[in-house]
Assembly symmetry: D2
Homo-oligomer: 409 residues x 4
C-alpha cells in the first residue's frame, strides 16, 4: 500500500467548477460508523437540515432532498410538475440550459429554446413576447439556469420573473442554482421562483451525491394535478415525511447528512450575506488578474474572459479562452508542475475538436478564500510564463489589490 506521490510534491488544488474543495470538518463528520436509520440522532439531524437549507435558498416553503446528482434533481423538478405533451420555454445561455431541455424532451415534454448564445444576457423582451403570444397557456414552465457552469454567465432571474409577470403568464418559473447556491446571491421567494434545483458538491462543499428541489405552493399544486408520479421522484412525502424513511424514499444517505450538517453550520456560522460578499471579492480578484493579463497588443493571442460584462459574470465560476491548443497545454502544465487542476471548457467548442483546446474554466465556489485564489492565479501566471503565453504585466498585483479592497469593504 505505497502512497503515490503527486508530481507536484505538495497539496493538490482542484479548482474546477465542481466538485469543489471540501472543508476538513465536513470530511471529519463523514468518517464515522453508519447510524441507526430508524430512530435517534440521524432523525434529529435530518430534521435540522430542512430550515437551514430553506434559509440558504431564501424560501419559506418546501425542500425535497434526493440521493442523486444535479441531473437527478433536474429530472425530479420536471417529473413533479410536467407530463408528456406539456410545453416549456427555455431561455438559454450555455450548455446546461440545453442539457436540462434535453432531459425534458426525453420525458416527452415539448421544449422551446430561446438560445442567446454563450456570452450574452438573455433578451427578456423575446421571452415576454413568446409568453404573451401563448394565449392558450400551453407553456407550463419557464426553465432558467441561474449560473450556467459552462459559459459562466449569471442570468437575471428576478428580471425573468418580472418579464413573466408583465406578460401575465401563469407558467411556473423553474431555476437551476446548482452552480450558484451559496455563492451568488439568490432569493427564491423574493424573486418569485416556483421551483429551484441545487446540489451539494459546489457551494455546499459536500462530496457529490445529494441534490435538492425547493418548491412553493404553486408548484405543489401542479404536482397535485398530475395523474401519476414515480415514487422515487415524488417530492410530496420527501418534503412532508410522516416517517423518517420518506425523506429519502427508502434508505437515507447517512454519511452525506452528517457532512451537510457541518457544511450548513459553516455557511450560516459565517453568515450568508458574508459568504456572498466573500465570493464577490474573490471573483473580482480573478477578473482583475484576467483583464490585466488580457491587455496585450494582440489580445486574440492572449487570455480572454468569456463574459465581458462584469454584471453578467458568475461569482462561482469563470470561463476563459486562450488560442487553441494553449488552454489545454496550460491545464496540463499546471497539473503536472504545480498540483493545480483547472476545469476543461464546456459547451464553447465541440468536445474533442481542435477549438475545444482553447477553453478552460476556473471554479471558485464554496470553501475558497484569498490565499487559495492567489495560489490559483499565481499558478496561472507561472504557467503562462513557462509556456510563453503572452500576457499583460501586473495581473497578480491587480488581484491582490482587489482582494485588499474587498477585505476593507
Amino acid at each position: 500500500m505505497r502512497a503515490t506521490s503527486n508530481p507536484s510534491g505538495g497539496r493538490p488544488y482542484l479548482a474546477i467548477p465542481g466538485p469543489s474543495v471540501i472543508p476538513d470538518p465536513v470530511l471529519q463528520a463523514m468518517h464515522r460508523p453508519s447510524p441507526n436509520i430508524y430512530a435517534g440522532e440521524l432523525v434529529t439531524l435530518t430534521d435540522s437540515l430542512v430550515p437551514d437549507l430553506k434559509a440558504l435558498a431564501g424560501t419559506a416553503h418546501f425542500v425535497a432532498i434526493y440521493i442523486a446528482n444535479g441531473h437527478g434533481a433536474w429530472e425530479a423538478a420536471l417529473m413533479n410538475t410536467l407530463q408528456p405533451g406539456d410545453r416549456v420555454l427555455v431561455p438559454a445561455s450555455g450548455r446546461f440550459a440545453i442539457g436540462w431541455s434535453e432531459m425534458a424532451e426525453a420525458l416527452g415534454i415539448e421544449v422551446e429554446v430561446l438560445d442567446f448564445g454563450t456570452a450574452a444576457a438573455w433578451d427578456l423582451s423575446q421571452v415576454a413576447e413568446r409568453l404573451t403570444a401563448d394565449k392558450a397557456h400551453d407553456i407550463k414552465a419557464v426553465l432558467g439556469v441561474h449560473v450556467d457552469t459552462s459559459s459562466s454567465i449569471r442570468n437575471d432571474i428576478a428580471a425573468l420573473r418580472t418579464a413573466m409577470d408583465a406578460a401575465g403568464h401563469p407558467a411556473l418559473l423553474m431555476t437551476d442554482c446548482i452552480a450558484s447556491l451559496g455563492c451568488d446571491r439568490f432569493e427564491m421567494d423574493a424573486w418569485g421562483v416556483d421551483v429551484m434545483v441545487a446540489a451539494c458538491q459546489k457551494g455546499l462543499m459536500t462530496p457529490a451525491g445529494v441534490s435538492f428541489v425547493f418548491f412553493n405552493d404553486k408548484a405543489a399544486e401542479a404536482r397535485a394535478r398530475l395523474p401519476r408520479i414515480s415514487r422515487y421522484w415524488d417530492w410530496t412525502p420527501r418534503a412532508n415525511p410522516q416517517e423518517f424513511y420518506q425523506y429519502f424514499g427508502g434508505t437515507a444517505p447517512t454519511h452525506h447528512l452528517y457532512g451537510l450538517r457541518v457544511a450548513l453550520d459553516l455557511i450560516h456560522g459565517e453568515g450568508l450575506q458574508q459568504v456572498w460578499a466573500r465570493h464577490a471579492t474573490l471573483a473580482q480578484a480573478i477578473w482583475a488578474a484576467c483583464e490585466t493579463w488580457g491587455q496585450i497588443d494582440a489580445p486574440e493571442q492572449g487570455l480572454r474572459m468569456n463574459v465581458t460584462d462584469p454584471a453578467l459574470r458568475s461569482h462561482a465560476v469563470t470561463a476563459l479562452q486562450l488560442p487553441a491548443p494553449r488552454a489545454s497545454e496550460l491545464r496540463a502544465w499546471l497539473e503536472q508542475n504545480l498540483g493545480l487542476t483547472l476545469g476543461i471548457g464546456l459547451g464553447l467548442a465541440p468536445a474533442g475538436s481542435p477549438a475545444w483546446h482553447g477553453y478552460f474554466r476556473l471554479g471558485h465556489m464554496g470553501h475558497v478564500n484569498g490565499q487559495m485564489i492567489m495560489g490559483l492565479l499565481g499558478g496561472i501566471e507561472t504557467g503562462m510564463q513557462a509556456l510563453e503565453i503572452p500576457h499583460g504585466a501586473g495581473g497578480l498585483s491587480a488581484a491582490a489589490q482587489a482582494l485588499a479592497a474587498g477585505a476593507q469593504g
Copy 2:
C-alpha cells in the same frame, strides 16, 4: 465541541439489517479531497469497479451504477423494462416484495401479487400455473425478491427460473438482491436472472447512497423497445459510457467510488466463495442460539424465529419474535446498556400497533465475523436475563459450537 458519550461507554454495534458495519479501510478511502471528474485516477478507478461488480453478481453482462438508494434501483429496473399498462407477476414473501410492487403500480404498471405470507416458501406451482394461463404473454416480468429483509426469508431464485421455463413464458426474471448480494450465494447468469437490483450499504459495506442494476441482453432488448425513457434512469449509457460522466448521468458520486473500490477489494481478496461460507457459518451460529433459547416449556412465551425452515433462512438477516412488547423492551435495553442496536420488526405487524413491539431483526451482513456475532448473541442473552425473558439454557454455547464447526469446515 464536546463529544457526547454513548451510554454504554464503549464501541456501539449497529446490528440492523442495513446499513451494515463499514470497514475502516472503506472509510479511510472516502476521507479525501474531491478528485477531478473529467480525467485521471477517478476514471480508471471507476472502470475497474465494473468487472468486480459483475463478478460479485455472477454475470458477464451489464451493470449500471446509480446515485440512489435501493428504492431508486427498483425504479430504474422497472423504468428500463416496462411501460405503463404492462403487467408484472410478483410472488411475495415479505414487505419488500410488496414495496417493489407498489413502486411499479405508481408507474402505471399492472401488478399481480401472489402473496405467500411472511414465513413460508413461494409455492412455485402457483407461479407456473399463472404463467401458463397467460397465453397472451401480458405478463412482461416476474419480480422476485431474493432475500426479503423484512421476513428474512430467502427465496429460491433458480427454482423460480425453472418454473418460468417450464411454463414456457418469455417474461423477464427480475430479482432484488439488495439484502443478499455479497452474503448469500447468488449466480445471476447461471440462475437465468435477467435483471438484478442491489445497493451498496449491506453486503457491499459502503455508506448508503449508491445502487446497482445488473441486466443481460434480453433485458437490454426490452429497454430498446421502449418508446421513451428518462435520461436519469436510462441504463444504456451508464452501462456503456462513451464519456466518463455517462456512467452517472452527470456528476460522479466521487467518494462512494473510492469506498466501493476498497469494499470490492476486501470481498474479492477474501474470495467470494469464502465470503458466502463465512456468512453461512455466522448464520448457523445465530440459529443455534435462537433455537436453543426457544426451547422452553411454553415456547410462545419466548423467542421464536420467523422462518422455521433453515433452508429458507437468509444468511444476512434474521427476523425474530418475542411476546409483545418484549421485543421493543429488549431492543431499548440493549441499546442503552450494551451499545447494541438491533433492527425493528418490519412488515410482520402493523407499524406502531401493540403487536409490532413483538418483532425485531438482526443484521449479520457484510463486515461481520465470529467475535461480533458472539457479542451480538451474548448481548441478547444478557438482555433476556436482565428483563427476565424466559429462554432455554446453553444458547451461547450452541452458537460457539456452530462457529467452531464452521471454522473447521
Copy 3:
C-alpha cells in the same frame, strides 16, 4: 492500493492490555491539519486538558504532560525526584514493578525490591518493617505499581500509604497507574500519593505517544532540592508554563492533544464514577466466565485465572493460564478465525520458553462495553471448542448474568 482483507472477514477486535480500542470521535478529532503552535485554539485546548486530567487522577496539584510512552513517564518521575545514590523500596507483584526498578538502577539509584511474586498481595508488614528499620531515611521513595499489567494484580495503594505513615517514614509514595487510570478507582490526594505516572493509550483511549506525571507539593520540593535536571524531563515548566511551548519542552504533540480533549470529554461526560462502575461490571462478567470454565474435573487441564482473590484483581486486565502450549494456540486460532487478538502472557514464564505458551491476557480497559466483552468471551469459548480445550459449561451465561446484574445495580 488494494486493501488487504482480514482473514476473519469482519471488524478486528484488539483485546490486549493496551493499546486499547480507540473511540471513533477521538480518531475523528485527530484527522485534521496541523494547528498553529504559537497561539489560538491549540493553546486554549491544552489549557483545558489540565483540570480534566487532574480530576481524572483525583488530585488538586500538578500534572506534567510528556511526549513519551509510559516508560518515558517512569523515567520522568524518577528524574524529578531522585539522584544517583538515592535508594528506593519497591514492593513488587509483577513484571512492571521490576521494569520500573531496572529503570531506576540504570539511573544510578539503589533499588531494594520486596518481591511478593505474581499472584499474591503485597505483605505490607514487610514494607513497614523495612521502613522502620531505615532510621537514616536513606530510602527516598517507595515505588508501587497500582495495577501490574503483567500479573493483573491490583495493589492496595491506600494501604501502602497507611503502612508508610505508620512507620513514620518520609519517603515519597510514587505510583504507576498506567494500566489503571480511568478503569480502576484511584484517588491520588485522598490516598496520599505523591507522584503518579500514567499514559494515554489504555484507559485514556488515545493512540500511544503521550504520558503523564502527576505530583504534589512534597514531590515538587524534592525536585527543588535536585542539583540538576534534564530540560526534557523537568516537570516544573511543564506543570507551570509561562509560554505555551513549555508545556512540552518544545513542539507540542498537536494531534494527540485534540484526541485527548475528546477522550476526556467522553470520560467526564459519562462520569468518572460510572466509568469505574462499568469497568467493575465488565470485569465481573469476565471473572464469572473464567471461573465457570475452570470448573472441570482436572482443573490443571483447563483455564485458570492468575489472581485467585477477586479483591486483588484489576478491572482493566486479566492474566490467564492454560496448559502450554494451548494459550498460544488459542490466541493464534482466535486471531485467524474470529479477528480477535488477545494479549500474550508477560512475566509469568520466561519469554520464548515452552512454559510461556501457557499464558495469555485480556485487556478490558477504556472504550469497552458489554457487547464487546460478550464477543471477547464468546470468542474464547468458540476457540476452546474448536481446539478441544476442556472447560466447564455455562461460562457465557454466567458472564451474561453478571452483566445483567451490573446493569441493574
Copy 4:
C-alpha cells in the same frame, strides 16, 4: 457540535516553519484502530522504516526513533555521547544553536559558544583555531545546527567537518537537521557527520511527536564508553532491537508509524533529489518576491530578508523583517482575512518587546508546491496592499518567473 467557521471562509494555510502541512494520505493512514504491538503488521512496517529513514539521512549506519519532539532528540543525542563535565563547542547562528547549548548545560556539560550572530555564516577559521588550541581534546563534540529555524541560516556542515579534520581534532560532529531534513540537501556519511538529530513534523510531514537520532560507529563507541545511561534515551537497543518493544523502549507510537510509512513513501516515490530540487525552486520563488518587494526608495521602511546571501539561505524557512509593529500587523491581517498563518519571529528580538513585532517567518517545508507558494506570496502582497506597507512592484511576477524557470530546469 456546530463546526466553527474560519473567518476567511476557506481552507486555512499554516505556513509556519513547523509543524508543516500534512499530506492527506498521511492522515488517512493514521485514522485507524490500534494495532497489535507484539506481532504482525506493525512489526514489519516498523522494520521497513529503518532503511528509508537512513536513505533520507544519507547514512548507512544507525537510527534510533524516539517518542519525543526535537528537543527530546537533542537530549538523546547529548545523553548518548557526553557526560557531566565534558565540553562541547557550538558555532551558533540563531536561537536553536543556543537552545541546544542550554540543554547541554542543564546536563552538566561545559559549553563554549562561538556566536556568529543571526545573519552571517560561521567563521570556520575561529572554529579551527579553537579546536587546534584544544590540545588535550577536552572538547568532545561540536554541535552544529544545519538550518537554524529562527534565523533561517543554512550552515555549511561539510565545511565544518573539513575544518575539524584540518585541526586534527577527534571531537564528534553532531548536527541538528530538524528544520532541514527532507528539504535541504544533507548527506550524513559523505559529510562526515557522526550524530544527526531530526524530527517528523517538518520535512517529514507527519504530526509532531516522533524524533530521530542517527549515529555512526564512532558515536556508538562514545556511547559504549559511558558509565551509565538512562534507559529511555539509550540508543543502543532502539537501533538494534532484539524485541520489537525495544525500538521504543516500551509501547510503540503506533499511529505515527503508519503516518511515517506513508510520508517516506511520498518522499522516496518522488525521489529525494527531486524533493530537494523542488524545495530549491520554491525557495527561489520566495526570495525573488521578497527581494523585489524590498526594492523601494527607503528600504528600511519595507520588507527585508534576514539572510542577505542566498548561499546561506535555507530552502525550508525564511526569516523576514518589517518595521515594527508591521510584521505582527501583517500576520494578524492575513490570518483574519485570508486564512493564512505565518510564523512569528524567533530569536531576532526579545520576545514581547516592541522590536519583536518587526519579525516574521515563512515555513516552506515538506508538503508544498508552486500553487501553495504563490498563494502564500499572493497573500502577503495582498496584506501589504491592505495595510499600505511600501513594497516594490512585480514581486509576484518575479516569483512566477522563478517557479517557471525551476520547472523547466
